[in-house]
Assembly symmetry: C2
Homo-oligomer: 111 residues x 2
């Protein structure tokens, strides 16, 4: 038992949890946008991201909010106004993610 390869020891590790948070085509872009421009409104973010549908952006934001990375603040007025920003947890994740960015810049194929 000390040397074999029997089970998936990866399941349930911090890796998989962290990665699950940013899974999704636009999650990183959203967090990045938040980091730079927060607080940001819904359509403002849509414009920033370029080609994202309402549905996808809405869903992604909900998930990020449920995961405690993004804070949503709603103002009871007409027309509606909702502002999104990073939570502390979200900000701390971005610090770690920034290291991925650095690695990526240094190890891109072109270099």
């Amino acid at each position: 038992m000390g040397r074999g390869i029997e089970g998936a020891s990866f399941e349930g590790t911090g890796y998989s949890y962290t990665l699950s948070l940013i899974r999704g085509k636009h999650k990183m872009s959203i967090l990045y946008c938040l980091m730079e421009y927060q607080p940001v409104r819904f359509n403002e973010m849509r414009r920033y991201l370029g080609g994202v549908s309402d549905r996808t952006l809405s869903r992604s934001l909900k998930e990020l909010e449920a995961d405690g990375l993004v804070a949503r603040r709603e103002y009871p007025q007409i027309p509606p106004r909702v502002e999104y920003s990073l939570t502390e947890r979200g900000a701390s994740l971005m610090e770690v993610l920034d290291l991925l960015c650095v690695w990526g810049e240094r190890n891109r194929p072109g270099d």
Copy 2:
């Protein structure tokens, strides 16, 4: 142009490149397995990962190899013997990814 949110400034950054390398349900498990047990043979890895099909494992390894993270060594014999291991590039990525793991452990919901 100095203050607006007009374009997707995220595209093409190191984030997206790095994340693209580990996109895929089993990529991380594979790299993790390699890190611990390299060199590892095909079926050995399959056992380690638990429920992965030949096709998926094969495809993932090819991609990782194409991305320069995994080295494949083939021995011309019958039956075939192929060993996989991490490249230096792969190993350096794992160091960064380990930080994600640490963050994940500290920020899991249960804590």
